[in-house]
Amino acid sequence: MRHTLSIIVADEPGELSRIVGLFSARGFNIETISVGESLDPRWSRVTIVTSGDDRTIHQIVKQCERLARVREVQDVTTRPHIEREMALITVSASAGLGRQEVLSLVSVFRAKVVDISHTQMIVEASGNKEKVDTFIELLRPIGVTDITRTGHIAINRLAAQEEEFSRKGAKAQSV
């Protein structure tokens, strides 16, 4: 089963390679990976989409937690969350029917045209994996010439975030 892991790690040189190295050394799979600043700029959030049975996922979480600079590892898949991915897609589309077809797909998928020439267009699409996959599949017959995807990012839904907040708050009080 696919799982999306959210890893909070210190924003220090080499930390990403520790995480990636751990995945390859222990034979875990990375489907997508994306990294960026989190709320506190001293910490980065690494979002990794991986797959495996429960035991494998549990192992991945525990192994990542062993890293000295990893503060928190969350399997966001287990709780309500929002996941997004962005893709930039170059499509062959000369003036005429092809271009019209692309534009109508762009509108249906709430994508965006970000560049255009006489023969090609670059469109920007975002959404969950299925939406982006479907969009690309529908564009293919028209003539996709290049694709770049960001990999997934994820965040807990507000309900889950608030629950987490009160759980941690309660823990702090009990200490």
């Binding site: 390679s17 190295g21 192992q59 525990k62 192994q63 937690e65 000295a68 600079r69 503060r71 928190e72």
Partner: protein
Amino acid sequence: MIAQRQLLNRPAASRPTDSLGDIPTGAQMLVAALVHEGVDAIFGYPGGAVLHIYDELWRARDQLTHYLVRHEQGAVHMAEGYARATGRVGVVLVTSGPGATNAVTGIANAYMDSTPIVVITGQVPKHLIGTDAFQEVDTVGITRPCVKHNYLVREARDLPAIVREAFHLARSGRPGPVVIDIPKDVSAARANYSRLDHVSFPFSAKPAPVDQQQAQHAIETILSAKRPVLYVGGGIANSGADESLRTFAEALRLPVTPTLMGLGGFPSSHPLCLGMLGMHGTYAANMAVAESDLLVALGVRFDDRVTGKLATFAPQARVIHVDIDPANIGKNVTPALALAGDVKQALDQFISLLDEQDAQQSIQDREPWWARIRKWQRSQPLRFSGSQNQIKPQTVIRELHRLTRGEAVVTTDVGQHQMWVAQFYPFTKARQLITSGGLGTMGFGLPAAVGAQLALPDQLVVAVVGDGGFQMTNQELATAVQYELPVKIVIMNNGYLGMVRQWQEMFYDRTYSEVDISVAPDFVKLAEAYGAAGFRAERPSELHNVLKAALEHKGVAVIDVVVEKEENVFPIVPAGANARDMIVHD
């Protein structure tokens, strides 16, 4: 020349103490921070990138002693021996490039065997990093998979915090190696030093103390088990749980089987001890685990040399797993009850929850289980066939045990001799056996013994090694002689890479492919060439007297024991098989 050098140098720095008078260099800060950590010994080998540090070490030689090794692998194994013998952090200093790569084997060994060491490596100056400079290697990259953490120090001012944290990491939780890579310009740069007493980095919480309710549940499970076995590992020594384990096992009369790393954590001579389990474990231990209905796993990681084929390992047993490293729990075997935490704390909690009456009842209920175990023990004890004209390697270990009254600290390499030590030298104290368990490193025994001897000056330290492993690090004889560390090295000399030969004999139709190492130096002369004493025993009749004379020798002694060439280690559970496939003897 010397006078000039002294003139050119900065004024001899005041002794590194809490506050350094002038603005100190990175090298001075490093040395001060090491002294602050209580380091009294460093094993190392100098080179270009660590010249500034060596210069400071010379100045600080009254406070911490540097031991000059003959190969960087030896330095790390010595630090491991020092750490394993005492529980303290072993410290290594090597130069960049080949200095660091030579140290990697030791670092990986320490990682596998959860040994606390801090390895300081030199690095080329910052402005040369990434240019393929002379003696440049990406030390942080190369060591990343086999350290708890590593650092590339970019600013001298970061050194005190990094050293503090490195020592904290090395010894906390599941211990392990930490590498600090210091570019040459950083050790020369000046920065303000302030002594640090706390670790500044916000670490994720330590493993919570074992939950009371879970401990209660564990105790109930243990009390109601009909065929329980305690399976104990290196975590016993690391958490100082040997006394607690003994109290607990005795209170419930539970059978105990240690892993290779667990030997000594529970006295092998104790009536409750079944001997080591696993590939070369005793018949009784392996049968007990195979038939058990409850396996209480304490400070272990279910290594493949213990479990054999996982699917058929302890098939009827529920598992209670206590380990400090949460990632060990559920990695190979899914436990019914997982207690992530310190083994000693868990055992003490178990003991506090014991009710005398329940304990007595459970002991009574388990009498049939002990009857079965005793039967296994009687039917297949460890044994070997004697010989009139050749020395049996097992006899060597038995004789060594007798002559040392079972009190020596013993180190080993890896292979047949290691298994015979595990089988025939009953260890009674934690930290008494220092062996390369996880990585299986040839050449570990001699340097590890040197490190252990340094830590335990009044203790008899014996390295039992093979003729193969000995030749991988025998240059450390010079280190032992130089520092008058009177280790005794017993070479089990069979002219073969014995364990590989055994597997070729048993599983490859006796095709002895590249295992004959009978062309070797005369080990007695080699010892003498190094300034150590050399002894040799070739016939069974000589063994006792030669061993005795060598052990009584005041200095470093090498004993070349010529043993039967094709002796095999039994029992053996073939790799990937299960306990029932055990081959008990020829």
